[in-house]
């Protein structure tokens, strides 16, 4: 850990200015991921700009429908919020499936979205890692890849994004409100995180001084019966091997619309567009669900330790859709 400066921002503009003017600066939310990385020497910011106390700590209905979640809302509060539990249960379930009670009390909405991969080589400065040190090589290839990607990976990086919350948000078509040096803009959550390509050091499309101020959930009737299913190596306090966020609109035994996102399979929450397309107008049967899963997973490229993720994600999706139908 290197010595660093600590600032507490008073408003969004000031926070952005502080970080914008300082290449070694970065935002600090609850610190549950960033501070760990600093202790490990994985991240070495020279200045932390604390944004956890900015006035983005509420969950409120939006005038035109939908809900706005402030970026500083703790994960625990968000999971427990009545609006979320009633209208977007998938989000509440995803949050509660993540980390531990203590961590969720500290973790913020913004920080959760931007937490970095748990790839064991990324977190260990004694091993090469393209994400941590571009060009140094990818130790996961040929190494321990139980937690790694089967979809959308590149030669340079096979890491997965660890957030459960982000998977639910991607399924819900949430958008992120961003305040940057050039003003504010909106980015769909599904487009926030990148595939690694040959720039694995870039997790998202955000710039260094882009501050997340809120996440907006669209009004979505089918979300009231949405669900999150996480499969992991232990019953609690473990990252997903595979997770599924889904909502299903079925009328007269026919699927009108399906919304599906996978976690644990890729460098970003994986919106399963092919599976959704396959299901549109299909009968709500186990065979159709299986066909949809297989369509989505057709291009999976498993690694040495994670071939099981193909049948596991297929079965999990089928089981989730079976329950929703």
């Amino acid at each position: 850990m290197i010595p660093f400066d600590y600032r507490r921002a008073t408003d969004a503009e000031a926070a952005v200015d502080l970080v914008h003017g300082h290449p070694g600066a970065t935002f600090l939310g609850g610190g549950t991921n960033l501070v760990d990385r600093m202790k490990l020497g994985v991240s070495e910011p020279e200045m932390l700009v604390d944004v956890s106390r900015l006035p983005y700590d509420t969950v409120e209905p939006l005038p035109g429908g939908g809900v706005r979640i402030g970026s500083a809302v703790p994960n625990s509060d968000l999971a427990a919020h009545p609006l979320i539990r009633e209208q977007y249960p998938v989000l509440s379930q995803a949050l509660l499936a993540g980390a531990s009670g203590q961590l969720r009390n500290l973790a913020t909405t913004g920080g959760n979205l931007l937490q970095r991969t748990r790839c064991v080589y990324f977190q260990d400065v004694t091993t090469p890692c393209n994400k941590r040190e571009p060009g140094s090589g990818c130790s996961a290839r040929g190494g321990y890849t139980r937690q790694h990607a089967i979809l959308g990976a590149s030669q340079a990086c096979v890491a997965t994004h660890p957030s459960d919350m982000a998977v639910a948000l991607a399924m819900l078509d949430a958008t992120v409100q961003v305040q940057g040096p050039d003003g504010s803009r909106k980015i769909p959550v599904a487009e926030l995180h990148r595939l690694p390509g040959d720039e694995p050091e870039r997790d998202t499309v955000l710039g260094q001084a882009d501050l997340i101020t809120a996440v907006d959930l669209p009004e979505l009737a089918m979300a009231t019966r949405s669900t999150y299913r996480k499969v992991r190596d232990r019953a609690s306090y473990a990252f997903a091997l595979v997770s599924v966020a889904a909502a299903l609109d079925v009328a007269d035994g026919t699927v009108r619309q399906a919304r599906i996102a996978f976690g644990g399979l890729a460098h970003k929450p994986w919106r399963a567009a092919r599976a959704e397309e396959t299901l549109r107008g299909a009968p709500a049967t186990e065979e159709a669900f299986r066909a949809a899963a297989e369509a989505e997973l057709a291009e999976a490229t498993p690694l040495a330790d994670n071939a099981f993720k193909v049948p596991m994600s297929r079965n999990t999706l089928v089981s989730v859709l079976r329950d929703l139908a």
């Binding site: 850990m1 290197i2 010595p3 020497g41 748990r118 064991v120 080589y121 977190q123 260990d124 004694t126 091993t127 130790s139 040929g142 190494g143 321990y144 139980r146 499969v231 992991r232 190596d233 232990r234 019953a235 609690s236 306090y237 473990a238 990252f239 091997l241 595979v242 099981f308 049948p311 596991m312 079965n315 999990t316 089928v318 089981s319």
Partner: protein
């Protein structure tokens, strides 16, 4: 001469569920753990670890570290104290730039704050000459060797009759290979030390399972007399074997403190560091063969074990030991073979030998029962030996069958349908399984206790024992009270320091046996002396010191605890997730000194067994030579959510031969057999026989 029966202690406080005497201190955070001891102006150590698995540090550039404000000294092999050669390659660090395993200590930074020490350690640049390393354990290696003995001093191999011949002619046979992965002890309190040199003498506040064991290992390295090393350890936050004997962290702390004489140096390890320097359980590969007749009577049992040790120091896990005692068969063989690797040194981990050794063979017994068309309990009962199968000695007491029967009754085993994969609760496949537990009764020689009675009616009991969280403070007080025939409130126990009479460490579940016996002996002598004073305590007080009395029965009887564990396991038919809603353990372990802390020991053992069954696995990356999942986010230990109903009970077992307390030791018994019971239940649930731990979901995916 008094008979064994007559010398047994009358239980009064013993057996009651006395609450922990140190409980209030523990839950209010006032019980000091190693680095929490208040010391004046401490300095802080952060280690420098090798980033290669084999080779030599050809240059260590410490200039940037030394230039950091707040750095007091930088330690490397260039300025490290010379250590006497004691033949312990694990402890003899910093004597050259040689690297024998990745993560080995190459030095350290001593600074005013832990943050500065850590930062400065990051600034040290090491140049290496690398040699090709070898860290992969496989059963087909051609360089496996036979150690002279296995831990602590058992025969490496044993054989009786003609096992191969018996197998060739057996009506039913089984030939299967089981494996357990590398596992790390991971006590809650990290290994931690405060070292301080004053006037050429060394004081260590150390998180250890044995203050005298630490003293005995450290003193000769620094060419000190034993009494020149003082070790203090009143409370220890768990050890599970890895704090049994000191590891290089204690030596590094003592070396660092040498560079800042008079200043105490604090050195708590990080969790990541614990994965490379304080030991682990070796992975094991267990080849089991069983032969039986049509009635399910075993004619042959063989177990051939392959496991690893480190080139820097040998440790030979005694995995085949329980197989020598569990079941009768005229033809039998056990063996251990080791691969010496460029890895850190394996060590004791809760029930070394018995814990992995009750996995393969107890799953094999389940497979064999099915092959013989017998219920697994009935199969075990049929093969119950009358005397210890290999030594021929009678058992001082053996109640495995009673445990199996009582457990079966409580668990509701009688109407079990043996067919696998036939019960469902929604998407979950449901099964039940059983396995046996066993652990030997150990007592270590050499402990002494002093008891002093004073006219104020108090009894000061002093012994250099330790409490690693097991309840020693409480249980020894109960034993002393009963031996003195006074109430526990009249006893003042002192443990946890080498300023107290010499004692063995907490290991091999021997603590209560080894410390209780001299306490009982000293109490009896003291009471005789008090009788000489007409039953009153003279003004100057009365004192008695006794050592561990010889137990003539040790060579006449085979002494072991037994138990039976039952598991209900649910496996998700879609995802393969494994859950254990119910575990029951019934044990026969002699007299249980404290019903509350005793129960906790067995519950804890079974929980750790469940954790071993479902989760624990250290992943060593052969390219780098280190464990890559080296933190508690990635190395999974069971969480509360993984533990369902967990029930423990014991039979009232009377054994006058083991020691005057009638106690057998329970720290390790509970972890033996749990993983096999769960694995057997998972088979019963799914029809999928997993022979490699842990039972990760992907092993049950279809």
């Amino acid at each position: 001469m008094t008979t064994a029966e007559e010398s047994m202690l009358r239980a009064n406080a013993i057996g009651t569920p006395l609450t922990r005497l140190d409980g209030t201190e523990k839950v209010t955070g006032t019980a000091p753990y190693a680095v929490e001891h208040p010391v004046d102006s401490p300095a802080h150590l952060h280690p420098l670890q090798a980033a290669i698995a084999l080779g030599r540090a050809t240059g260590i550039d410490t200039s940037a570290a030394e230039a950091e404000p707040g750095v007091l000294a930088v330690l490397t092999h260039a300025n490290a104290p010379r250590l006497a050669s004691t033949g312990n390659g694990e402890l003899e660090i910093l004597q050259s730039g040689e690297v024998g395993y990745r993560g080995q200590f190459l030095g350290g930074v001593i600074a005013e704050t832990p943050e500065i020490a850590r930062r400065a350690a990051d600034l040290i640049r090491v140049h290496y000459e690398r040699y090709e390393h070898d860290v992969e354990l496989r059963a087909d290696r051609d360089d496996l060797y036979k150690p002279e003995q296995v831990n602590p001093a058992f025969d490496t191999d044993t054989a009786q009759g003609d096992a191969d011949g018996a197998l060739a002619s057996a009506a039913v046979t089984l030939d299967a290979t089981y494996s357990t992965p590398m596992e790390h002890n991971n006590p809650m309190e990290p290994h931690a030390t405060i070292a301080c040199w004053t006037d050429g003498e060394l004081t260590l506040h150390d998180s250890t399972q044995g203050v005298y064991w630490t003293q005995a290992a450290v003193a000769p390295l620094f060419e000190l007399d034993q009494q020149q090393v003082r070790v203090i350890s009143p409370h220890v936050g768990g050890g599970f074997g890895s704090k049994g004997i000191p590891h290089p962290n204690v030596v590094l702390a003592a070396m660092a403190a040498r560079l800042v004489p008079g200043r105490p140096v604090k050195f708590p390890l990080t969790r990541q560091q614990m994965f490379s320097v304080v030991g682990y359980r070796t992975p094991t590969i267990q080849h089991v063969r069983l032969g039986a007749d049509e009635q399910g009577r075993l004619s042959a049992i063989t177990l051939d074990v392959v496991e690893q040790t480190a080139k820097v120091k040998e440790f030979a896990e005694q995995t085949a030991i329980p197989t020598r005692t569990m079941y009768a068969a005229p033809h039998r063989r056990t063996s251990h073979r080791l691969a010496a690797l460029d890895t850190p040194v394996p060590t004791w981990m809760r029930a070394p030998g018995e814990c992995p050794g009750m996995f393969g063979p107890e799953v094999a017994m389940d497979e064999m029962a099915l092959a013989c068309g017998l219920d697994p309990i009935e199969f075990r009962v049929r093969n119950e030996p009358e005397t210890d199968p290999e030594s021929g000695l009678p058992f001082s007491s053996r109640n495995l069958v009673a445990c199996l029967r009582e457990g079966a009754r409580r668990f509701g085993w009688h109407d079990r349908d043996p067919r696998p994969g036939t019960r469902r609760h929604g998407e979950w496949l449901v099964g039940t399984g059983v396995a046996a537990s066993t652990y030997p009764v150990f007592a270590m020689p050499g402990s002494q206790a002093t008891i002093r009675a004073t006219p104020d009616g108090r009894y000061a009991v002093r012994i250099g024992a330790v409490d690693i969280g097991t309840g020693t403070w409480t249980a020894l007080t109960q034993i002393a009270a009963d031996a003195l025939e006074v109430s526990v409130g009249e006893v003042d126990l002192e443990i946890g320091s080498t300023t107290l009479p010499t004692a063995s460490g907490a290991g091999g579940s021997s603590g209560i046996n080894s410390w209780g016996s001299p306490i009982v002996a000293a109490a009896r002598t003291l009471r005789a002396r008090l009788d000489e004073h007409g039953g009153t305590v003279p003004a100057e007080g009365v004192e008695a010191t006794e050592g561990m009395p010889d137990n003539p029965h040790t060579s006449q009887y085979a002494m072991h605890s037994f138990g039976a564990q039952f598991a209900e396991v649910w496996v998700n038919a879609d995802t393969g997730e494994v859950s254990v809603p119910r575990l029951l353990g019934i044990f026969a372990a002699g007299r249980i000194i404290n019903a509350r802390t005793g129960r906790s020991q067995l519950l804890g053992g079974m929980t750790m067994g469940l954790s071993m069954a479902l989760h624990e696995e250290s992943v060593l990356d052969p390219r780098f030579g280190h464990v890559v999942n080296h933190d508690l986010a990635e190395y999974h230990i069971a969480t509360n959510a993984d533990v369902g109903s967990l029930e423990v009970d014991w039979l009232d077992e009377h054994d006058p031969y083991v020691n005057p307390m009638g106690s057998k030791g329970i720290g390790e018994l509970g972890i033996t057999g749990t993983a096999a019971a769960i694995t057997n239940a998972a088979y019963h649930a799914t029809g999928i026989r997993v022979r490699e731990l842990p039972l990760h979901p992907d092993k049950f995916l279809r």
